[in-house]
Structure formats: structure tokens, C-alpha cells
């Protein structure tokens, strides 16, 4: 059910919800665009381009205490953290980040429900903003989603350029939110609808072609030991930049911090690029950096597909832009695609030869 909403009405909605619940939006913090809590609507930056850090940190924080404990003579007393039940609204999230949350939900609900993450997800309304002018390093269309992807957002706004936003409701949370502010959402005229579709097609047409995901996966299935991995991974210095900025990287570490007889257990982000990620007393399965580089590519384009039939890469381009030594997962997959093509030729050649 599509509607139309003007920029002014949108600002009025934001002003009213800022009092009642936490509102997060892209904000400029010393030249870096980040998702922060806002107090007023003018803090929001509506301009194009994604935030520097992905929105996952609002649901899966960089570091968070998961419980506190106190050691007494009688034993140990655990006092849990408060419930994450504050109502929150997230505005201006890009479709790739929103879809990344949809992808990460799969692992956080695999057999065991991670209440820490899911409680925050349940209490947050996500109002996505589709990308009319993608950034140079974006490649979401290559990972089979689009700058107008709907999955992951509760409501998807599209800036039609004339101060009006096309708004599409995607989930019940979206309907509830639109219901609450019924008077601001106007009826949509068919030619506005067409305008949005035309805008979407023009933007998507210019974007990179999709990866042949099935071919890539079947190549990855068979080529864990392929020598190309050492070449592709050479030069990676093992910092955590790509994993910490990635919207779908969900690995974490649990550590205790003790002060005398009390303390807390914390959950922090962790990265497969680090050496101590898999280092055990007995042995270290991934000794060289290119093996860890391979793990990241394999996890996103094969293992996640095996377990949850979703790519764990949404093509946001952050890791391409900020890698200190210019590693680029998009070019890695295109290189593998070239490998699959020449392997297909060999197969075809073999067939002909028989």
C-alpha cells in the first residue's frame, strides 16, 4: 500500500516521535557520517551515501555488558542487565544495511534465539531510504539486491526529488506506524507511482551486473585449496577494518572484566582477520593471513549460503573504500567468476573432445 508524504510532514513526524522514543538517524560527527541518536530533525543528513559504520551497531553494539556478577562467601550472584525494551525508530537507513539486518536475523535465530539482539530488533521501527545516487563503491545489485530493496525495512521512503517522498509499507510495524500518523500520509497518484518506478529502473540499470552466485558457490565448493587464494590474500595486513564496518559481519568475543570480587562479562566485536580469533592452546588452524582472507570470502559467499541460503554480503562497498591496502571483495568475486568461466570452457571442451 503506497502513499506519499512531503518533507515537511516527515519533519513534523520526527519532531513528535523524538519526545516519545529514541530516534536514530545519519548525523555528521566531525566529518564522519554515523547513525546516532538525535534530539531534533535538523541534525539529520538526508544526502546520499551510506553511513561510515553500518547500522548493525545499533542492534549488535561494538561492546556491551551481558551480565554483572558478584562473588560473595556464599557463592556468586549474577544480576542480569535491564531489558532492552525502549521503543526506537531508525530513519534514513539504506536498503543494503536494512537487508543486512534481515540476513543477520538468520544466524541470530538459528536454533537458539539471541535475545540481546532480537529484543532490540523487535522494539525498533526501521524507515528505509532508497538510494537515488549510489556511491562509487556500491555494488548491491551484484549481490542480487537493489538500491530500492524492500526486505529489512518496515517502511521504504524514496525521494522523488520534488520535496515529496514515495512511501511503501512493507511490514505490520510499518502499517502500525503509518496508522499512527495517518494524517501526514497522502493518497498517491498513479503518475507519482510511475515516476518512482522510472527512477528505480534508471538507477538500477547503471549499477553493476549481478554475480553468478550459483556458479561462484559451486566453484568455491570445490576450490578451497586453489592457489589463487594466496595471490588474492597477499598484502592483507590482518586489521579488523573490513569486518567492523561490514553490516553482516556478526562474529563476537565474550570476555570477563574483573574488579576485585565483582565484575561483568562483556560481548565485543571480533574479527576473523585477527590471529587470536582461532588460536588454541594446541594449534592454530589459520596461521597465514591469506587463509583468514579466504575465510571471510568463503563465509560470505559459501558458508552462509550453505546454512541460511543467503549471501552474507549486501554490496554496501564499505570494505572496498576503507581497506588500508586496497583489498576489494568485489574484484575477488569477479576474479573467481573469471575462473568459473574458464573452468566451464574446459568442461565444454572436455565434452566436445569425448
Amino acid at each position: 500500500m503506497d502513499t506519499l508524504i512531503s518533507k515537511k510532514d516527515l519533519d513534523r513526524i520526527i519532531d513528535s516521535i523524538v519526545e516519545t522514543c529514541q530516534v536514530f538517524a545519519p548525523v555528521n560527527q566531525e566529518g564522519i557520517k554515523l547513525f546516532q541518536e538525535i534530539q531534533s530533525k535538523d541534525q539529520i543528513i538526508w544526502a546520499d551515501g551510506n553511513c561510515h559504520r553500518s547500522v548493525k551497531e545499533i542492534f549488535f553494539p561494538i561492546t556491551e555488558p551481558i551480565f554483572f556478577y558478584k562473588k560473595t562467601r556464599l557463592g556468586v550472584k549474577i544480576d542480569p542487565i535491564q531489558n532492552h525494551n525502549k521503543k526506537r525508530v531508525l530513519i534514513g537507513i539504506r536498503p543494503c544495511d536494512a537487508f543486512a539486518l534481515y540476513v543477520m536475523d538468520q544466524v541470530f535465530t538459528w536454533d537458539y534465539n539471541d535475545e540481546l539482539y532480537l529484543a532490540l530488533r523487535k522494539n525498533t521501527v526501521i524507515i528505509g531510504l532508497s538510494c537515488v545516487r549510489p556511491e562509487p563503491f556500491c555494488f548491491c545489485t551484484a549481490t542480487n539486491i537493489s538500491p530500492f530493496e524492500e526486505r529489512g525495512s518496515d517502511i521504504l521512503l524514496t525521494d522523488l526529488g520534488n520535496g515529496m517522498y514515495h512511501s511503501r509499507i512493507i511490514t505490520e510495524k510499518g502499517t502500525a506506524f503509518t496508522e499512527r500518523f495517518k494524517k501526514y500520509f497522502k493518497e498517491i497518484t498513479p503518475e507519482q507511482e510511475l515516476k518512482k518506478e522510472a527512477l528505480a529502473n534508471t538507477v538500477i540499470s547503471k549499477m553493476p551486473a549481478p554475480f553468478p552466485i550459483a556458479d561462484i558457490k559451486s566453484w568455491l565448493d570445490r576450490n578451497f585449496g586453489h592457489p589463487i587464494w594466496e595471490e588474492l590474500g597477499l598484502g592483507c595486513i590482518g586489521c579488523g577494518t573490513c569486518t567492523y564496518l561490514c553490516p553482516t559481519c556478526h562474529c563476537f568475543d565474550l570476555t570477563d572484566e574483573n574488579r576485585g570480587y565483582s565484575g561483568q562479562r562483556r560481548r565485543n566485536w571480533d574479527s576473523c582477520a585477527f590471529d587470536h580469533f582461532t588460536k588454541m592452546a594446541a594449534h592454530q588452524p589459520r596461521t597465514f593471513q591469506w587463509q583468514r582472507f579466504r575465510q571471510r570470502v568463503m563465509h560470505k559467499f559459501k558458508y552462509y549460503m550453505d546454512k541460511f541460503s543467503h549471501l552474507a554480503c549486501v554490496g554496501c562497498g564499505r570494505c572496498r573504500a576503507l581497506c588500508p591496502v586496497g583489498k576489494d571483495i568485489y574484484q575477488v568475486i569477479r576474479a573467481i567468476q573469471k575462473e568459473t568461466n574458464c573452468q566451464n570452457q574446459n568442461l565444454k571442451g572436455a565434452k566436445k573432445g569425448k
Binding site: P61, I62, T63, E64, P65, F68, K70, D79, I81, Q82, N258, R259, G260, Y261, S262, Q264, R266
Partner: protein, 166 residues
């Protein structure tokens, strides 16, 4: 060693926490051969000096790693005093010379980060200078008292709801 520093800060905080008015919580690293003996002499000759100091004995002032001092501040000390033998008296002959360079550079790094310079003190106290030791401790406590409680390293609100102490 890091558990010793944590325990020292802890026990001092518990003991000082009892009376209402805040008193500075100081950790002192003393070299075993001169300063520790000097402090011992101060004790045996019944010299009165401020009691809110916890001493940690180290083999030599050269052994005091900047990490010990940073750890002390992180664990809640309001001030740190490091004391060793006078240059030339070192039991290991050159320990305090190397230490002197480390402390000079560490003091400037911490000041550059904005740590109040009244919180960190260095001194040479020989085994015979019981009087000087009590004077040094009183001066240190006085300076740290002026600098006030060290609230610097409480984790900020954003990432966690503060350290839940007892």
C-alpha cells in the same frame, strides 16, 4: 603483577571509602633496596606520614613498567608515586638511569593526554632517608588532594552502564 595493583587499589578504596569525606588513593612503587628500606626506616623511627598510600615493592625502579602506572590509574588510583635509589646507588648499577628516561618521557606523554601532572610523582629515597620518605609521601598526598578524585577512566554511558562496583 596486574592483580597486585588491582588488589592494592581495591583494598585502599574499601578502607578509604568508609569515612564520608574523600581522601586520595595513592599507589606507590618502591624499589626494594633503597626506597622500601627508607619507608621501613620511617616506620621504625615512628615518623607520622599520611596513611592512604599502598606500597608495592619492585626489585628496582627500572622494573616499573609504564603499564604498571597506567594500570594503577585504570584501577582507580588517584595518584601514583614511584621511588627508587639515587642515581649511582642502584643495586643493579644502572636500573635507575634507564628508569629516569622512561619516567621523563612517560610523564610528558601523560601530561599531553591531559592527566593532571600533580597525580604522578617520582622520587629518589635512599635506605637512610626515612625523613625524606615521609616528607615525599605527605607532599604527594597534598598534591593529589588538590588535584581531586580521578574520574577519568569510567567507561562512558554509550557503551555500557558504568562499572557496577559493590
Amino acid at each position: 603483577m596486574e592483580k597486585t595493583i588491582d588488589q592494592a587499589c581495591r583494598s585502599l578504596k574499601d578502607e578509604l571509602g568508609k569515612d564520608k569525606e574523600w581522601r586520595p588513593n595513592i599507589i606507590a612503587f618502591l624499589c626494594n633496596w633503597c626506597s622500601y628500606a627508607g619507608a621501613d626506616l620511617a616506620g621504625t623511627s615512628r615518623l607520622k606520614y599520611n596513611s592512604n598510600v599502598r606500597l608495592i615493592r619492585v626489585p628496582c625502579s627500572g622494573k616499573v613498567d609504564p603499564l604498571f602506572i597506567l594500570r594503577a590509574f585504570a584501577d582507580g588510583a588517584d595518584g601514583v608515586l614511584v621511588s627508587g635509589c639515587h642515581p649511582g646507588d642502584c643495586h643493579y648499577s644502572t636500573g635507575n638511569y634507564f628508569a629516569r628516561r622512561k619516567f621523563a618521557l612517560l610523564k610528558r606523554l601523560l601530561e599531553f593526554c591531559g592527566l593532571d601532572e600533580r597525580r604522578i610523582h617520582f622520587s629518589w629515597v635512599s635506605a637512610a632517608e626515612g625523613g625524606k620518605w615521609s616528607k615525599v609521601v605527605n607532599e604527594t598526598v597534598e598534591a593529589v588532594h588538590k588535584a581531586g578524585p580521578f574520574k577519568g577512566l569510567e567507561p562512558h554511558e554509550g557503551s555500557d552502564k558504568g562499572d557496577k562496583d559493590e
